[in-house]
Amino acid sequence: MTQEEMLQAQKDSCVFCKIIAGEIPSDKVYEDEHIVALLDINPASKGHVIVLPKEHFPILPLIPFSVMQHMFKKTHHIIGALKDAMIVSDVTVFIANGAAAGQQSPHFLYHLIPREDKDQLHMFTLPKTFNSDENELAVKGFSDRYEQLMKAYLQEVNREVVEVPSQSQVPVSDGAEDVSSQEPLDVLIQKIHDNDDLKMAIIERPGEVKSMIASDKKWAELFGSVDVDELSKNLRAMTAARFKEHHNTEKLVGTKANLDDVSTLFGVNK
């Protein structure tokens, strides 16, 4: 049997191809020319949806580029709809390529799983079970190939490749930098970088930080025209991501910032 014949035999017996053709009933939630989204009959949570291309492809790399891009873009909108419909704030996307990874269907698909605060889906919080140094070596082994693939992708979709400083170019602060020679914005960044109380105050109590800026000249000089609300949002996201990286948990420990301590930074009292 040739490869084409094997693929055709696989298509002929594919349950999902029959669902797409309407031969087997399903709870479809979205459908267009290229893709379909339907409720998983073995849901991990309420509203668990699977997304699949209408044409039979056993694995992701075989899907034509234009269909893949369409599917990924539509995922953005289906997730938005899922959040609205199921009243959840987060949805986990889960893709399994290969039986060892948990792929059970010969028709490529992926899962959109609405998440709730106290759900029992701990399997998506990954354990640290492998040596990080050894992982780093393994990952470095394909970094050139990955960069090549990504550059080709960005070119294909007309997104610009943005050069970023390599790690060797990144200045490392020892925390003892002379701030007097820095620009005002650099001083603020350095203060935030060096002082966790200030950082937590901006994240947790942006309103009070703004009051301090409005009432105290030194605070006003330090923050200049910075949008504190936006800065707060960005810092929160950055801190949460770093926290997860180090502690492998989604919870950000709520250390209450002490604005009195922060005030001493600038020689003022709250």
């Binding site: 409720l39 909108h77 948990g102 990954l126 079970t129 979709v157 997104r159 800065l231 492998n248």
Partner: protein
């Protein structure tokens, strides 16, 4: 920690909390990702999976995206590793499934009828990204503040 790719939208690096040999974490920088950002993140994960297959010859790969598209993990899988993503399926009645499907379908229809926002363009080399009113400044620390995973 080894950065293997970075652009205006993503930063891909070897995971510091490796679950398996061949664990890449992709941080997403955009605060409110557009559909183009979603496509890039999922494509980046897909190409990472492809590169993993070519390099380490695993028996499978997983891609997990969570936390409001702030984070994506790509994992090389073997039959002997200790990971498992099996879940206990909820038992829902046919009526309940139909009701849930109707709600999601309705939400999908509403989204489909809305005009989609213009896709955000990535920052180009030399063009400073202005976030939160911060003035333009080439500075690594500033870049860190703007780097919203």
């Amino acid at each position: 920690m080894s950065v293997i790719f970075e652009d205006a939208t993503i930063l891909a690096q070897s995971s510091q909390q490796a679950a398996v040999k061949g664990h890449v974490s992709i941080h997403v920088k955009t605060v409110e990702p557009s559909e183009d950002d979603w496509a890039e993140v999922m494509s980046a994960a897909s190409y990472c999976s492809m590169a993993l297959f070519e390099s380490l010859q695993p028996q499978g790969t997983n891609i997990i995206i969570s936390e409001h598209l702030t984070w994506c993990d790509v994992l090389a899988r073997t039959e002997t590793d200790t990971l498992s993503f099996q879940w206990q399926a909820l038992q829902l009645s046919k009526d309940e499934m139909s009701s849930i499907a109707a709600r999601i379908r309705s939400a999908c229809d509403q989204l489909g009828s809305q005009e989609l926002p213009a896709p955000q363009r990535p920052q180009v080399l030399g063009e400073e990204q202005k976030v939160g009113g911060l003035p333009s400044k080439k500075n690594y620390l500033l870049k860190q503040l703007r780097r919203v995973p």
